[in-house]
């Protein structure tokens, strides 16, 4: 057991130091998004949504067909779970005025206008008329 400690301790100690250095070098957006960087097609939709949707507001997540550039983790369940986590205290509601559209079928939301868009990734934040 002592041999195992002697063998593993320096490795674990060095790894913790490497992680600490890597964490310091992350910018604030990467640090805030964390796992979202592996799920979201683009960071901007999360940051824009946090800035635009009021904290007491509600939103819906609509996901269309997977786009070629998206990560394998960008499935509807993961995207909705992640946006719920990231945007709390904003709540999910299917009839919410704000729609986070991931290559969604916009005709399903008649009258909703894009307030932010990233056409290359098929992302948009839509706003239903009041």
């Amino acid at each position: 057991m002592v041999v195992a400690v002697v063998w593993l301790y320096p490795k674990a100690f060095a790894q913790a130091n490497r992680t600490a250095r890597a964490n310091v070098q992350l910018d604030n957006v990467d640090r805030q998004l964390g796992g979202g960087n592996s799920v979201l097609p683009d960071q901007a939709i999360a940051i824009e949504a946090r800035g635009r949707i009021p904290t007491h507001g509600t939103f819906a997540v609509a996901v269309g067909p997977r786009q070629p550039e998206w990560s394998v983790l960008a499935d509807p369940g993961s995207l909705e779970n992640y946006m719920r986590y990231f945007l709390l205290p904003r709540r999910i509601n299917p009839s919410a005025p704000w729609i986070l559209c991931f290559a969604c079928d916009r005709s399903a939301f008649p009258g909703a206008q894009p307030v932010w868009e990233d056409s290359a990734e098929g992302l948009a934040i839509l706003r239903r008329p009041p």
Binding site: M1, V5, A20
Partner: protein
Amino acid sequence: MTWRALAGLTALNLAYAIVGLSLLWGLLAFRTWGALLRLAGLGYLVGLAAFGVLWTALLVAGVPFGGVGIVVSLVVLAAAGVVFGRFRGARLERGLPRIGGTPIVLVSAAGIALAGLFLEAVFRAARLLSLQEYDAWAFWVPKGKAIYFFDGLDARLFTTAPNASYPPLQPILDAAAFHAMGGADVVTLHVQFWFVVVGAVGAAAGLLHPRTPPWLLWPPLLLVLVVPRFGERLLAPQGDVLLDVLVAVAALLLALWLGDAAGWRLAAAAVLLAAGANTKREGILFAACVLAAAFVVSRPRLWPQLVAASLAVGLAVLPWRIWTARHEISSGTPPSFDTGRLAGAFRLSFDVLYSNARWSVLPLVATVALAAAVVWGDRRLATYIGFVAVGLFAGGVWSTVGFPDLAITADESGNPIVRYTGSMVFLAAVAAPLLLSSVWRKGDKP
């Protein structure tokens, strides 16, 4: 991360330690300042556990969770310990921990220094760590945020989040941390988990110190921190590590209680097991394994105390069960038992437990220590540890057999058996010194 957030978090965790030490003092666990220092880690875990169990019941009862409520509950818990202690004639006198001769001091100092150095490096990693783990952002931290933002068990989120049947103790601790930090800072939140790891190491070392020589105590404790599967993963904002340390320290307390029948050990173990049962679904299974093993090996005259402790744990589980029943959430027990999967599940649990790449030699050494204690050491202690270990192992096999959706694989995206096995590895780390010590002392009781 801000210094204000770190200071708030430190104050909250200090409050947990004060609460726990007050409760332990009330239970007559120590009489000197030296013993208080030795039990500070255990006090921290007991305080955190008592706070979590209390607030699980309060949230189910509809009491709003806020800054004032947190402070009042901590003060009430601490005061309860002090008043109970006064009533029972508890005292606090001068006295330093018994350390031993020079070589012993050197080994202890080396162990403490190495653990401290590693934990300091992990702290630097923790304070700016981004939240990466899928389960953490899918349901653990959202539940904590929901308690923080909506002051309670928000039914809309708690009934629709993945793993809705998981009890809320860990999210309650997250929400308390958010209040202490002044905001839902999911980066600095990792430091809360660092405090739990520090408390667990302190608790195990403090409990084992009078019973085991330091050269048997420190290698397993250091090894469990640095095995490849742990390291910084100890800081994942999920309930797994908290459950592991609560169960392992509770099992250790009961192992020592079997030797000296000190009531405070049983009471503290009951608090930790109640918290474990309110942390994850398998916490109930773990608590049952530990208590059942204690029943099997203890003398009948101790059974009434064990029955009382078991009832206390059972009562602590009730509020969350009532809440889930009221909201028609499935209990989350395995829905079937497909015997065709039994052999594969057994092999998987065995391979994961004895995986050198994950846990190094720790489970193997603990198994050898168990066998040695059966032959040359304290057979009752070995029987107890063996029963607990077999129970936990069987629980892991049962979960893979019982959930047909789980693939028979060690891949963590397909089966949580690796995370589940963490509890057995923590148990190995705290049990190995005790077992080896009993062999070393040629059958002396622990």
